[in-house]
Amino acid sequence: MQTLTEQDRGNIGRAAAPVLSVKNLQVHYTAESGDVTAVDGVSFDIGAGEVFGLAGESGCGKSTIANAVMRLLQTPAKITGGSIELNGRNLLDLGEEELRRTRWRDVAMVFQSAMNSLNPVMTIGDQIVDVFTTHERMPKKAARERAAELLKLVDISPDRLKSYPHQLSGGMRQRAVIAIALALKPSLLIMDEPTTALDVVVQQEIMHQIKELQQQLGFSILFITHDISLMVELSHRMAVMYAGKLVEVAPSKDMLENPLHPYTHALMGAFPPLTGPRVELTGIPDAPPNMAHPPTGCRFHPRCPLAIDACRTIEPLLLPGAENHDAACLLVPEYVVPSERSSR
């Protein structure tokens, strides 16, 4: 795994216009027991060629964000506010047909379960080919050749084109899905826990491959996982999400070395480090909040070891806590720099 220089980190995501810009995104689920706010005012940018990680416990809303960006949310989920700009175009304004054309061409997605994201009655080849025939009106034969190239890109032999999903191993299936995702060279790839269903060895292989492909092709990645160590390894910048809100955003290295938010602290303590000495793992007490009735003030306060009285009533905003490092916690003093950040 290649490590980035400090300069790289500084450049990434800062230069030029962002590929993806999510602003104040609100997603609600309508339930009989009342509305649930799954994503509450989330904003983040992903720069060209940047790998942006989104971490958090199950149910915190990270997959909802992924599906919102793909506009795949179906009732009872509904995007109720904010904007999602992809290469300067607000995806929320697109009509059905425009949306269909944009999907996969500009933004592709690798789903959580490789086993189930391929159609069991179609060959791998046909499932790649239909991307080309639909989006590029490519003749079948040419599309098949492109499909063979794509499979080679992820180290699958081209004669697997005629295989059905059940004839491939879990790792191969997930690589095939990645190949399909890269078919049209999208500028953004969303990966929603791409390796959760795989064993650790295969997981490492795939992560390595994703990293290589990313450097080779230069697409941006929105990488979603609850596995912090995996995320730190892969992503340039990352955000930690709790109960529908971002609680901390920072370059991965800074986040790892100097987490500001108590929740991030706790998350880091809950995962074994891949290298270095053994450390005692600590869990986070209690369960994530019921999103139908989220806690007042800071949503993490009932589980927070450092909570003060003010946490119960005052909702903390996501503010700079250090250089390039935002956190939403009352205990983190605001970091003020005289640059563009001071305008916030």
Binding site: S117, M122, Y164
Partner: protein, 325 residues
């Protein structure tokens, strides 16, 4: 291929079991057809006549196993014995004269009900909660839950008598003889409409509902979400990704129904005086015509087995996962 051979082996064994049952069941019953005929005629039958009849029906005093092999040999030559009620017509001839009409009526109505029902089911599930989905299933189930004979007679009264659009009974007009002329085919088609329509009406709801339900489960699968994310056209997702997977259980039920087509549609045949196996079976049972009853049962069994084998073949083509197991 191995899978199909294994299935074929299974069906051969099943068929053998049927023939064997068919052979032994009547022989376990008291009496025999000849004594029955003897009592029916209620008149003098000379002992040599009785003997001749016994030989004709394959009833003799040979050991059971010998009779059994003779019976199996005869079955494979298509010789199912002599009908009692239609004496001296052979059973195969009696069945042969009716089965064409049964296949025509049953095949047509099944094909229409399956194709149309499944298509409606696919559309309803795809636009879940919209017009088609909220109106059609209850309506069709409502129509389907009428007693069939009532529905058939109502249709007959409305279209046949009151409006006079369609013929009242039989498979073709009296006076016409079978030929490949347009007139004859048109006449047969006109006679087919009402019986087939009523069968379609009562059976289509089940097909639609079955397909709708599997289809709804299928549309929740991850590969459908991925297909949508891929930016495929909705029609392609609906048919190639969703319906293509949802149709698998439907194919199984189709196979079952296909086999039972051969059994005929008793009520339809009765209401519309349409020729067919169903009515034939009823009369043969009433007349205690064992050879004919047995022959019809055997034909139905063979048809069910053959239809199931056909479905196995189709299934292997449709679902690649079956090929390995």
């Amino acid at each position: 291929m191995v899978f199909l051979l294994r299935r074929l082996g299974f069906y051969v064994i099943a068929f053998w079991a049927c023939i064997t049952l068919n052979f032994f069941l009547p022989r376990l019953m008291p009496g025999d057809p000849v004594s029955r005929m003897f009592s029916q005629v209620q008149s003098q039958m000379r002992p040599d006549q009785v003997d001749a009849l016994r030989r004709l029906f394959g009833l003799d005093d040979r050991p059971l196993w010998e009779q059994y092999f003779t019976y199996i040999g005869k079955i494979f030559r298509g010789d199912m014995g002599i009908s009692l009620s239609r004496f001296p017509a052979p059973v195969s001839e009696v069945i042969g004269s009716q089965i064409g009409w049964t296949l025509l009526l049953g095949g047509t109505s099944l094909a229409i009900a399956v194709v149309l029902g499944n298509f409606l089911g696919v559309l309803a599930a795809w636009r879940r909660g919209k017009f088609l989905d909220s109106v059609f299933p209850p309506l069709l189930i409502f129509v389907g839950s009428f007693p069939y004979f009532w529905l058939a007679m109502a249709a007959l009264y409305l279209f046949g008598i009151t409006l006079g659009w369609l013929p009242l009974n039989h498979a073709f007009s009296t006076g016409l003889s079978a030929s490949f002329s347009l007139k004859y085919i048109g006449d047969v088609a006109a006679h087919l409409i009402l019986p087939a329509l009523t069968i379609v009406l009562v059976s289509i709801g089940g097909w639609m509902l079955g397909m709708r339900n599997t289809m709804i489960a299928t549309t929740a699968e991850d590969y459908i979400t991925m297909a949508r994310a891929k930016g495929l056209r909705p029609a392609r997702i609906m048919f190639q990704y969703a319906a293509r997977n949802a149709m698998l259980p439907s194919v199984t039920s189709f196979g079952m129904s296909l086999g039972f087509v051969v059994g005929g549609a008793l009520l339809t045949e009765t209401v519309f005086a349409y020729p067919g196996i169903g009515y034939q079976l009823l009369t043969s049972v009433q007349a205690l015509d064992y050879p004919l009853t047995q022959g019809i049962f055997l034909t139905i069994t063979a048809a069910v087995l053959a239809a199931n084998f056909l479905v196995d073949i189709i299934y292997v083509r449709l679902d690649p996962r079956v090929r390995v197991s």
